[in-house]
């Protein structure tokens, strides 16, 4: 095999540059605030680089801030009816009228009831230009049910209408209803997810980490909860919700129920993951340092599958937001006059709506946006928490 010429051995090479044994220590070109930065800060820096996540985060914050001011943001109140504009389709916003710039405006609408099909046929009345007003006086409302005001972000022209997302069967403005609905839908998801995550992580974490009897018992409990499909559970739990609860209490109750039923899956996932993770040396190291179970689970084990958790959380939020639609379907859950996206969607649950008034399905759009935003946010968080990035 030695058919090659054996290469000559190395000549003795010595680097001639001056040698500084301390050079290594200055090697890392980090800035000093980087050195001081806490773990959170670091995560934030990394998070910032993930543009979709950043945008999503901002959007979500905006959305949550928005729900504080829905009365101001919505052009109409939730329940304001326009009997002359039942099932009006969305109006489009124009800028130019007959070639000249007017600013954003909508054309007036005229309605004709088709007596054969009993359908309301709307047509644009291009003679009526109704400019949209901003920061304007419109309908009265009670801000958070208390302070009386009539200031709106946008209002229709005086004596005019503006239904950018159309109206429903009572002539209520869908846009306003969607804006109002955000209040419940955005919080129900978060509350529910929090409930289920707190329960899931704590119970699953302890079961996975301690194992033994605790695990055995919780597993059986989970098994029991798992083994009963959610619908009967809902039916039963709804049956025991007192008849004279206020809508708000029912809302909280349902959120809690949603969360309460959801933790089992997560708990099992956490548990089985911890089963393998707890054998790692760093867990032993933490134990030997005297760390308690909570700390080990919380700081050492859980971060080890943050991705899964974040993915689960982002997946759970939509199912929470939409969970109430299922409930409403069964005649449980939220009901009008409470307005949430789920309620709005359940009101659109017949084929005739799909066929004739498809804009009533528009509440799906904010749901999609929120879910997308949560997902990208989740991705960003995941990456920010990922040391390998």
């Amino acid at each position: 095999m030695e058919n090659n010429v054996q290469p000559a051995s190395l000549t003795h090479f010595v680097r001639q540059e001056p040698f500084d044994p301390y050079a290594v220590e200055t090697d890392r070109g980090g800035t000093s605030d980087l050195d001081q930065a806490s773990q959170l800060r670091l995560m934030w820096w990394r998070f910032r680089r993930h543009k979709p996540a950043l945008i999503s985060g901002i959007l979500l914050i905006a959305a949550y801030v928005m729900i504080l001011f829905v009365e101001f943001l919505a052009p109409y109140r939730v329940h304001t009816r326009h009997m002359d504009y039942i099932y009006a389709p969305p109006q489009s916003v124009h800028l130019f009228h007959e070639g000249s710039f007017v600013g954003p405006f909508v054309y007036g609408m005229s309605m004709k009831l088709d007596m054969v099909t009993l359908q309301r046929v709307y047509s644009e009345d291009t003679s009526k230009v109704q400019p949209i007003r901003f920061f304007c006086r419109g309908e009265n409302y009670h801000f958070w049910g208390m302070v009386k005001s009539d200031l709106h972000l946008v209002c229709p022209a005086k004596e005019g209408q503006m239904f950018l997302m159309g109206t429903d069967r009572l002539g209520r403005d869908m846009l306003s209803r969607i804006i109002y609905g955000a209040r419940i839908s955005l919080t129900i998801g978060l509350l529910g997810v929090t409930t289920s995550f707190v329960l899931g992580i704590i119970i699953g974490g302890l079961a996975g980490y301690w194992g033994g009897w605790f695990d055995l018992v919780t597993q059986r409990v989970i098994e029991m909860l798992h083994s009963i499909p959610s619908i009967p559970l809902w039916l039963a739990l709804a049956a025991i919700m007192p008849a004279d609860w206020s809508p708000l209490l029912i809302y909280l109750g349902i959120t809690f129920i949603l969360g309460l039923l959801d933790w089992t899956g997560l708990a099992r996932a956490v548990r089985s993951k911890l089963f393998s993770l707890r054998e790692e040396d760093y867990v032993l190291a933490a134990q030997l340092m005297g760390a308690g179970s909570a700390r080990i689970i919380g700081r050492h084990l859980i971060p080890g599958f943050m991705s899964h958790l974040i993915a689960s959380a982002t997946l759970t939020i939509p199912s929470m937001i939409l969970g109430e639609t299922t409930l409403s379907f069964l005649g449980l859950g939220l009901r009008p006059p409470i307005t949430s996206w789920g309620v709005l969607l359940t009101e659109a649950r017949t084929v005739s709506i799909v066929a004739l008034y498809p804009w009533l399905l528009l509440p799906v759009v904010p749901v999609i946006f929120v879910i997308l935003a949560f997902n990208f946010l989740g991705d960003g968080l995941r990456d920010a928490a990922d040391p390998y990035k």
């Binding site: 194992g211 055995l216 597993q219 059986r220 989970i222 098994e223 029991m224 798992h226 083994s227 009963i228 499909p229 619908i231 009967p232 559970l233 039916l235 039963a236 049956a239 025991i240 899956g265 099992r268 996932a269 089985s272 993951k273 089963f275 393998s276 054998e279 032993l284 134990q287 599958f305 991705s307 899964h308 974040i310 993915a311 689960s312 982002t314 997946l315 939509p318 199912s319 939409l322 639609t325 299922t326 379907f329 069964l330 789920g342 969607l345 659109a348 649950r349 084929v351 709506i353 799909v354 399905l361 799906v364 749901v367 999609i368 929120v370 879910i371 997308l372 997902n375 995941r382 390998y388």
Partner: protein, 332 residues
């Protein structure tokens, strides 16, 4: 291992007893009983009910007895293979469930398989091509599926399917095959119809699965053992399949527990909307009309499946991950 399985099976017994109690409470929880709801149902369209007959039925099925005795009767009956009597259908529960179980299993298995077949490749792709356009696009698509409530999707698809393909709305087959034995035509008809429920039930699940597979894979992809495997000269795809994927199956397997009962009960609301001939709508109906033996026995059956599912999941988890199986040395 065998001892472990035996021990787990032993544990199942008290669990099942507890579950049966829970189920019994659940179906007893709503006030009233079947007969009351039956009378109401009749009255709703203006009919009169024969109160005498109702009272007799009540007495015959022991509704005048205290609850613990009824519970014992029910459980005792089930142990003997008698699942009780459906008031609504006026026949033994086992006859009522009949065919529906098979159709349900068909729909659900197809859905689950389709979900897996789609979700795993996409999840793997998304994880390995993180933040590529493909990843974003697929994510978007999946999430839209997740964000649209099933019944909206069902309505829209149903409507479109009818307008575009002329497929009859809802159901698993053309009505004319309903009472017929299985035949090639019937099968074709089922194939024609099954895609709608599969899409509807599957989308949300697929999207969720994709996200989870992706997330779990991302956690594993940077581990040292992946590098080792690459250093062996393995094809990257094989590396992926054998190591990180297997590691990330953990979550997936711990879910089996709920997959089994899902196969039977699955996606009730969709089934109701589409009026599929599956067990889901029947269960809801039974619950709502408080047809308690039907609901109870059916739930018990589901519970049994779950318990089996959890067992299978535990065993599979142990088989999959030796660290779980061989947990012995370190006792805290």
């Amino acid at each position: 291992m065998i001892r472990y399985i035996l021990w787990r099976i032993m544990v199942m017994i008290p669990t099942l007893v507890m579950i049966s109690m829970l189920i019994f409470t659940i179906i007893e929880l709503p006030p009233g009983d079947y007969f009351e709801s039956y009378v109401e149902e009749l009255k709703a369209i203006g009919e009169k009910a024969d109160m005498q007959e109702i009272e007799e039925l009540r007495a015959r099925y022991g509704f005048d007895q205290p609850e613990p005795i009824r519970y014992l009767n029910w459980v005792g009956g089930m142990l003997k293979g008698d699942f009780g009597y459906s008031f609504e259908y006026r026949m033994p529960v086992s006859d009522v469930v009949g065919d529906r179980v098979w159709l349900t299993i068909l729909v659900s298995t197809v859905t689950i398989i389709v979900t897996w077949l789609i979700a795993f490749p996409i999840g793997i792709y998304s994880a390995t091509h993180q933040y590529s356009w493909g990843d974003y696009g697929l994510t978007l698509l999946g999430l839209i599926g997740l964000a649209v409530p099933n019944f909206v999707l069902a309505l829209v698809l149903m409507y479109l399917a009818n307008i575009w393909f002329g497929t009859s709305i809802g159901h698993l087959m053309d009505q004319k095959y309903l009472n017929e034995p299985m035949s090639w035509d019937k099968f074709k008809s089922i194939l024609e119809h099954i895609w709608i429920p599969v899409i509807i039930i599957g989308t949300a699940g697929t999207a969720g699965m994709v996200r989870r597979v992706r997330a779990n894979l991302l956690d594993e992809l940077h581990k040292q053992y992946v590098m080792t495997a690459r250093a062996k000269g393995l094809h990257p795809f094989r590396v992926l399949i054998k190591y990180p994927l297997r590691m990330s199956l953990n979550f997936f397997i711990s879910d089996i527990g709920s997959v089994l009962p899902h196969i039977i009960s699955g996606a009730e609301i969709t089934a109701v909307v589409l009026s599929l001939e599956t067990t889901g709508p029947m269960l809801i109906r039974a619950l709502q009309s408080q047809d308690m033996y039907l609901a109870g026995s059916f739930l018990m059956f589901l519970a049994f499946l779950t318990v089996i599912g959890v067992l299978v999941s535990d065993i599979a988890l142990a088989l999959l991950d030796p660290r779980i199986r061989l947990r012995g040395g370190s006792t805290k």
